[in-house]
Symmetry: C2
Subunit: 144 residues, 2 copies
């Protein structure tokens, strides 16, 4: 029996939309041989590559184990390569390969496609209001 | 070098908030011996237990492999038990244990705590607007 618990809260919607997004990404990324678990790292590396594994994990709020596993898969698939930092040979930085760069536009267009689906039911004004409120939440001190 | 790509979109905020929520849940759930990966299943089971593994995976938009692994951990930790369906012995349903039920209030209060943090920077009117817009997105046909 379904209990009538008031979970229709903001966090629940975020979580639901995130997971639906993952399903969407998984479908769209199949043709590139990528899983949705790797995509978030690839999307972030398209924004900024040449970063350490730790920096990437911190930026995305993803634990180190998951980050290591996902990057290993991306490396095996030829999307990223690890390079030693000259000043500190114990550290690697993650760089995109030519294969990844060639596919950049095609892969990042998936992000825009999902955003279009998300905002399809909203008017232009509603979308602008939503983005303003989301930015306000994101900028609030407790979440930094 | 960070590229100036326009990724400040709705999906990106959802994803960011979801991951920050996971970090928050992980911290709060540590004392119960639970990881944030299991919490989402437990939260859903508090809402409705006595469901099959497949139903749970579909409701949460989480793949079958992840669902199976998380439920195995929850079972080992004594939060859930699997029971055979009398009409179809091949099927199990997932039920909460007494241990889980005793901790229900304490564990579900973490959801409310996260929601309070999320909406802390918003006025009452803004929160209401945000929930209305999120509901509109969630209800839109393409996302059902």
């Amino acid at each position: 029996m379904e209990k009538d618990i008031d979970y229709e809260n903001i966090g629940r919607y975020f979580s639901q939309m995130y997971r639906k997004g993952r399903v969407f990404y998984a479908q769209e990324l199949k043709k590139f041989g990528l899983g949705s678990g790797q995509s978030i790292f690839l999307f972030q590396l398209y924004k900024k590559d040449g970063v350490t594994q730790e920096e990437l994990a911190n930026t995305l709020y993803i634990d180190k184990g998951t980050t290591a596993r996902s990057l290993k898969t991306l490396e095996e698939q030829g999307f990223i390569k690890k390079e030693h930092i000259i000043s500190d040979k114990r550290l690697n930085i993650i760089c995109l390969t030519e294969k990844a760069l060639i596919l950049e536009e095609e892969i990042t267009s998936i992000l825009k496609k999902w955003d279009t689906i998300l905002s399809n039911s909203l008017s232009c004004e509603e979308k602008s209001t939503l983005l303003k409120l989301l930015k306000k939440i994101s900028d609030s001190n407790e979440l930094k």
